[in-house]
Symmetry: C2
Subunit: 216 residues, 2 copies
DNA sequence: CGAGACTTTGAACCCACTCAATGCCCGTGG
DNA sequence: CCACGGGCATTGAGTGGGTTCAAAGTCTCG
């Protein structure tokens, strides 16, 4: 296993906390785990029985086909929760994208109180997944990227500058595109003046209104 | 509204009940509603506050883009539940595909008991949606159709003969394909001897093993 | 039995993919 | 501090699977 015990050094700063944390009570009492970039948090087939809240960093949830094709079903940023599953085993993989710290909530030990908090989180995840189905099923490459950027911007507080903690390959595997297409669309949006590429993992949204329209 | 009061004539027979009903207690006391083919059960933007169990018939859940593109996120057959939402308003449309009867569970009136039953149902729906993301994001037309047929067969008890209550357009909008592609793939599977087309809405799975492999 | 809706089939096109090469960034070691 | 190396990203050229447009076929239901 790749989980490391959390030392005092890794306790997150206030800055790392999200503006709109999903509300989970009694967070201070739950254990923290640290995962270096690229390490596994849980694997498909493993026994479930906990859920997680990202303290800092970013997480990808995905499934694989036999031939290696990958579909990332969700990214989770600081403050967001993931890991609740139907049944007793995980149906997906969860990996830290970057150095990431997560707070672990055992559903069994916590008793009824915690499982009651789960429903709104599960429903939110369900809505998110179903909305993503529309993107994958019916939108073209530009619309997908636009929707992705709008979503990432919203989840980071609606600022112009958006950090993309994941690689082009991750973005492609989330949007059902290849890395080449992701790259080409970024370039096109840049050439149109809709976004600026500050660095590989950081973009500025120049025309939020245009991006919004593109994504619909 | 298109809901009609349920008369005694419409009480479903035992045959209409599913083999593996999702467990919801006290079903006998909940009101039934009947919806003719093509009618709306609820609309995006409407106030939520209930969930539903299909008594007989079939339901499609979908979203629309401004230009009319449609993504069906789920079909629900007899015995299956749908309609729980995050927040107070529906994010999706629900329509009866055929003449359909649903049992309505008000989440508010039922109190805590009902909302506790909701979590496993929500989690199951979440898993389903996330698995469908893999289909839409990473599988080609044959794989999508194969996965769809395998899923429909399982949900109908694993028999050879599978009823498809929905049109080709519905299937296309569920799988992110056009009706033409759906039709062509059905023809190809028929020519290969994997399935037989008994009628437009009824197929026989001749080679379940091949279909299974195709879908992975 | 007839009309309209749905489905199938055909032909041509196009968007995203594949394959390939170049470019860029960053970490590492000399 | 710079040179090198490796991984990731970008760009280009050509291909192909699924779409679009069009027409014929079939089923269902009044």
């Amino acid at each position: 296993m790749h989980a490391y015990a959390t030392s005092r050094i890794l306790v997150p700063s206030r800055l790392a906390m999200p503006r709109l944390a999903e509300t989970v009570e009694a967070t201070a009492l739950q254990p923290l785990s640290f995962y270096p970039a690229g390490t596994e948090i849980y694997a498909q087939g493993e026994t479930a029985g906990a859920f997680y809240q990202v303290e800092f960093g970013a997480v990808r949830i995905y499934r694989l086909l036999a031939d290696g094709r990958r579909q990332i079903s969700a990214f989770h940023l600081a403050g967001e929760t993931f890991g609740f599953e139907a049944g007793t085993t995980h149906h997906f993989f969860a990996e830290a994208i970057n150095a990431t710290s997560v707070r672990v909530f055992r559903t069994a030990s916590g008793g009824v109180d915690i499982s009651r908090q789960l429903l709104p989180l599960a429903l939110k995840g369900l809505t998110r997944a179903q909305e993503h189905l529309l993107v994958l099923g019916r939108q073209n490459a530009i619309e997908r990227i636009a929707a992705f950027l709008v979503d990432m911007a919203e989840r980071q507080g609606g600022l112009q500058q958006v950090e993309l903690p994941m690689s082009r390959m991750d973005i492609g595997d989330y949007l059902g595109l290849t890395i080449e297409t992701v790259s080409r669309v970024f370039t096109r949006l840049k050439d149109k003046g809709v976004i600026r590429l500050l660095s590989l993992r950081s973009i500025e949204i120049v025309r939020q209104d245009v991006l919004q329209i593109m994504s619909e």
